[in-house]
């Protein structure tokens, strides 16, 4: 069997999960590689979640939240926005490629954007190959 990238997606309940839902109800086609975990807010996604996903076998981690300024909790997605550059800088030192971990924004009406991000990320992770875990 050929290898397929496994991507864990943490989607915020209020925008991005609904965006994904919209893509589904509109029967848009997207790569089936993202396993979605619904969280209440992208600000809930601790850096440890991303590391844990990689440790447990994910080849990539996608975090989607409301667009800046649109957070249901006013400030939550800004927390995600502040954490990600530092997390990615740390991951670069650890030899984790830039394209394996991504933070982006998808609103409840952006089913097409969700599909585009999922497809793009799947292809990028596919190009990187499996994430070889360390012993």
């Amino acid at each position: 069997m050929s290898w397929e990238p496994k991507i864990v997606g943490f989607l915020c309940n209020w925008c991005s999960y609904r965006g994904a839902d919209l893509a589904g109800t509109a029967r848009m086609k997207s790569a089936p590689n993202v396993r979605i975990v619904r969280v209440m807010c992208s600000g809930r996604v601790e850096p440890a979640f991303v590391l844990k996903a990689l440790e447990l076998g994910a080849d990539g981690v996608l975090v989607l939240g409301c667009h800046p300024g649109d957070c249901h909790y006013a400030e939550g997605n800004y927390k995600a926005m502040r954490r990600f550059p530092l997390l990615k800088k740390m991951l670069a030192q650890m030899g984790v490629e830039d394209d394996r971990v991504r933070l982006d924004w998808v609103s409840a009406s952006e089913g097409d954007r969700f599909v585009a991000i999922v497809n793009d990320m799947t292809e990028k992770v596919r190009a990187l190959g499996p994430f070889a875990r360390n012993s």
């Binding site: 440890a48 550059p85 530092l86 997390l87 030192q93 360390n134």
Partner: protein, 319 residues
């Protein structure tokens, strides 16, 4: 009841843990009253072969410091585990890999390249690097095999208790030794400290809302002595570190570096420290956030100073 039998060993460590063990001062007399030290390479002349012939589980407790960096350390760790009823991980290196654990950003090849070739003071014309086996007329000589990664003690053998710290504070060491001597040990797996809460809980500095525009290293600015160091932009690991040390470093105007390991229930100390630090960045502008993040030159060395081998990723991937 007869006297306890205690063994002490050092693996990939600096020797500071031995000094920390002696820091208990005159209490060491209470220790030797209650226990015979049967193995302690730094202080008494007992060889590995003497330990090898000891019956299984004949040592009551082993205090093991240092991470596992080579085959000798792994061998001795396994041997002492087999001979000891209680295995105690002593100090940050055994607990989480410690400072030598930062070697996990590299591998054997890169470390040897630096140590035996690239350092300016090295003169190695014949390109000699250590070989685990070497044939001489008298027979084969062996030295330990150097591993790519540092491992913690608990990734190598089953560990019963942990005494954290780099090195463990005297009061932490004694808390554990007293429990051992009096037979009042906590449940297996306990990290023995005076508190399971964070260093901040013991830190006397004034704590307010944290919003930071830039991070500083201690040489860049003199900290104000009464306000929380993190609020002042110093990367103080107190928020993500188990207390019990008495918050000594912040009291001396130095940020906590995280040597007591994660607080109870946290798997990855560095990720929690990183999350806490990033959350206090005072900006909503991605470009400004990036600029502020760039004031942290070495995230792994800062957030995982003692805990890289015990982190979720354990080591860097090297291609």
């Amino acid at each position: 009841m007869g006297k306890l039998k205690v063994a002490l060993y050092w693996a990939a460590s600096c020797g500071g843990c031995e000094i920390a063990q002696l820091m208990i001062g005159e209490k060491i007399l209470k220790l030797v009253e209650a226990a015979d030290i049967v193995f302690w390479p730094v202080a008494i002349d007992v060889k590995y072969k003497d330990v090898e012939v000891m019956p299984s589980k004949s040592i009551d407790a082993c205090l093991f410091n240092g991470g596992i960096r080579n085959s000798e350390q792994e061998h001795v760790a396994k041997m002492l585990r087999e001979k000891s009823k209680i295995m105690i991980s002593y100090g940050a290196c055994a607990h989480e890999g410690g400072i030598p654990g930062l070697g996990n950003l590299h591998n054997k090849e890169r470390i040897f390249q630096t140590v035996y070739f690239d350092t300016p003071s090295t003169d190695n014309k014949d390109k000699v690097v250590p070989q685990p086996k070497f044939q001489v007329p008298e027979g084969e000589l062996n030295i330990p095999v150097f591993y790519d990664s540092v491992k913690t003690l608990h990734h190598t053998v089953d560990v019963d208790y942990t005494i954290p710290g780099c090195p463990p504070e005297e009061r932490t060491t004694w808390l554990a030794l007293e429990a051992l001597i009096t037979g009042k040990l906590p449940p297996k797996g306990t990290v023995i400290t005076h508190t399971a809460k964070a260093v901040c809980d013991e830190c006397l500095r004034r704590k307010g809302e944290k919003k930071v525009k830039a991070f500083y290293r201690t040489w860049q600015k003199v900290p104000e002595p009464e306000t929380c160091l993190l609020e002042q932009g110093f990367l103080c690991a107190g928020v993500a570190t188990r207390g019990g040390c008495g918050a000594l470093c912040p009291q001396a105007n130095m940020p906590c570096t995280g040597c007591y390991g994660p607080v109870e229930g946290v798997a990855d100390q560095g990720a929690h420290f990183l999350g806490a630090v990033a959350s206090i960045i005072d900006s909503k502008d991605p470009d400004e956030v990036k600029k502020i993040v760039d004031t942290i030159p070495d995230p792994v060395g800062t957030f995982y100073r003692y805990s890289l081998p015990d982190s979720l990723l354990r080591r860097a991937r090297i291609k």
